[in-house]
């Protein structure tokens, strides 16, 4: 595999994303809303509206009851506002954070695979000496690297925001914990590949970018499920859960990439082009 060709493909796809506001705007707005505006409001709003601590306290108690004992002990010594900030920052927003890499891969992946087919530029690429594997690998990198990069950049911003908001209560830097580091290094990459695998397979079946993105967007459902499961106390994002989650994605990735490679064959692509 000629890595210079792979790099050329990946860089071209990234340049195309940078050149299209429709593509890059959501990648800035979504992290900003989920990881800056929501956390800020969720901490500042109770203070500003002077919500009675009892109201805050009763909903917190319900959530606390469902926490495993170890976690309950950790936050047990905090006052209600401290508990609230800690639980929101460390647990509640974690699944939202996971939405970001999924969103980035689905936007870039749909543009790169289905979009290029729709814009009719793919055919000219197929006439060049690049092999199917180089082309597919370049396109995967063009979505995978920005996805992980945006997730990590969002994480840094999120860490600054929640520490700034929590500092008055804790007097120390409390974020990230080990689970978040595992999310970052283990779950984000394997989950990005999962999103990409779905997009590659979906793109081979559909005609256009919008369709690929809509169907590919469904990969966000497991993350939404995670939010709900956590709210209802069925699971919570512990270290072991994060490790298992990453591993599960990795196993699925292996099969998805194999399936994707089977669909990414010149002859099949060209016969489906109109």
């Amino acid at each position: 595999m000629d890595m210079r060709l792979v790099r050329a493909i990946a860089l071209k796809d990234v340049r195309e994303v940078v050149g299209s506001k429709q593509l890059w705007l959501p990648m800035i707005l979504v992290p900003l809303i989920f990881l800056v505006i929501f956390p800020t409001l969720s901490v500042l709003l109770p203070s500003a509206t002077k919500l009675p601590v009892t109201t805050l306290g009763s909903s917190l108690e319900t959530f606390m009851e469902r926490l495993p004992p170890a976690m309950r002990d950790l936050v047990g010594s905090m006052d209600d506002r401290g508990k609230f900030i800690y639980l929101m920052s460390v647990f509640f927003f974690a699944p939202f954070f996971l939405i970001i890499p999924i969103m980035v891969v689905s936007i870039i992946g749909a543009s790169s695979f289905a979009g290029e087919k729709e814009r009719k530029t793919l055919e000219s690429l197929l006439y060049t000496p690049i092999t199917d594997a180089e082309l597919m690998f370049g396109k995967i990198l063009s979505a995978f690297i920005p996805s992980v990069a945006v997730a990590w950049a969002s994480f840094i911003i999120y860490a600054i925001v929640v520490n700034a908001l929590g500092y008055p209560f804790f007097g120390r830097i409390f974020f990230p914990n080990l689970t978040w580091l595992v999310l970052l290094i283990w779950v984000v990459p394997s989950m990005s590949f999962f999103g990409l695998g779905i997009i590659v397979v979906v793109s081979s079946k559909v005609r256009g970018f919008q369709e690929a993105q809509q169907i590919g967007g469904l990969v966000v459902l497991p993350i939404v499920a995670l939010v709900l499961l956590q709210v209802f106390g069925v699971v919570y994002l512990s270290l072991s859960f994060a490790l298992i989650l990453g591993l599960a994605f990795l196993v699925i990735d292996y099969f998805l990439i194999r399936l994707g490679a089977r669909t990414f064959v010149r002859e099949d692509i060209i016969t489906k082009l109109k």
Binding site: E16, S20, S124, L125, T131
Partner: protein, 321 residues
């Protein structure tokens, strides 16, 4: 020397549909070969087969001596393709579009930059090199797409409708360039077109494809000879009388005659009989203003071939030019 493009019995089926049937080609290096046919006749499938994007159902083909079944990458390194849609990356600049494709052909650094400058200059796009292609007119896009197909100096070029959408001046520029690529640089050009006038100007040989099958191939002159027996001569006279027409018609070398005002069209067996015809017409009292051997345009040849293919019969010897 081996042919630049050669095929034998090349066939591609999609289910029951035979897209290309038993295609036999032999195109020499430096030749401009016209591939003529209506939409859906199999032109694009042929280009895809010859560039190894599709595998043949049966038969074989070689491009620059490489077999399409065994050496797809080697073939694609040596061919440049202008597709019918000629789509470019709209969010990238003209220079970046060329640079990207140059890189895919393994070109880098100074050499690539120089080539990009040359092509942009040649195709009149140097002033817009940094502008997004999304802001380009149809003609500019087409010129850039042709430049893209030339970025790696391919010895074989496949051009699908290279001048469609171009204004007459730009079209002439492109035609001149294609002629130069063939004559000066000895590149082989496989030209798919509906533009028969363009094919006539550029192509040394043509093939007419219909429903995946080549119905005729050869130089325009060869095809003309095959379709129209004998030679038609237009004789422009000062005055035409019925008696003069009758005298000319009775001449031994005249096979057929038509009258249109002061012009009579006469069919003889061969061009070598034209001087005798002129002498006989003068001898019969005709005062000649001009004599012109009628050549059939490629357009006439094309439509004649297609109608014969539909009707399944040979053209009659006395067909009007």
């Amino acid at each position: 020397m081996a042919a630049a493009i050669e095929s034998q019995g090349l066939t591609r089926k999609f289910g029951d549909l035979v897209a290309v049937s038993e295609l036999n080609l032999k195109i020499e290096a430096g030749e401009v070969f016209g591939f003529l046919g209506p939409n859906g006749s199999g032109k694009t499938t042929t280009v895809r087969l010859l560039n190894c994007l599709l595998r043949p159902t049966s038969g074989w083909a070689k491009v620059m001596g490489f077999d399409i079944a065994d050496d797809p990458t080697e073939i694609r390194r040596r061919t440049g393709v202008l597709t019918e849609t000629a789509a470019l990356y709209e969010n990238l600049s003209a220079a970046d579009n060329l640079r990207f494709f140059g890189e895919l052909y393994g070109l880098y650094g100074e050499g690539l930059s120089k080539k990009i400058d040359e092509l942009l200059e040649f195709f009149g796009l140097a002033g817009r090199r940094g502008d997004r292609v999304g802001s380009f007119s149809t003609g500019m896009r087409k010129r850039l797409a042709i430049a893209r197909s030339l970025i790696h100096d391919p010895p074989v070029l496949f051009l699908d409708e290279p001048t469609s959408g171009l204004d007459p001046e730009a079209a002439r520029l492109v035609r001149d360039h294609i002629a130069e690529l063939s004559r000066g640089e000895k590149r082989t050009v496989f030209l798919c077109t509906h533009n028969l006038d363009e094919a006539q100007r550029l192509c040394s040989r043509v093939a007419v494809i219909e429903n995946g099958r080549v119905i005729a191939s050869g130089s325009p002159q060869e095809l003309e000879k095959r379709l129209w027996k004998g030679t038609w001569v237009e004789v422009n006279l000062e005055a035409v009388s019925d008696s003069l027409v009758a005298k000319i018609e009775s001449l031994g070398l005249v096979r057929s005659l038509k009258r249109d005002g002061r012009v009579i069209s006469v069919q003889v067996d061969s061009p070598s009989q034209i001087p005798d015809l002129v002498a006989e017409v003068v001898g019969a009292g005709g005062r000649i203003r001009a004599v012109n051997e009628v050549a059939h345009s490629l357009e006439e040849i094309y439509f004649r071939l297609r109608s014969e293919d539909v009707n399944g019969h040979e053209a009659g010897a006395g067909h009007r030019p």
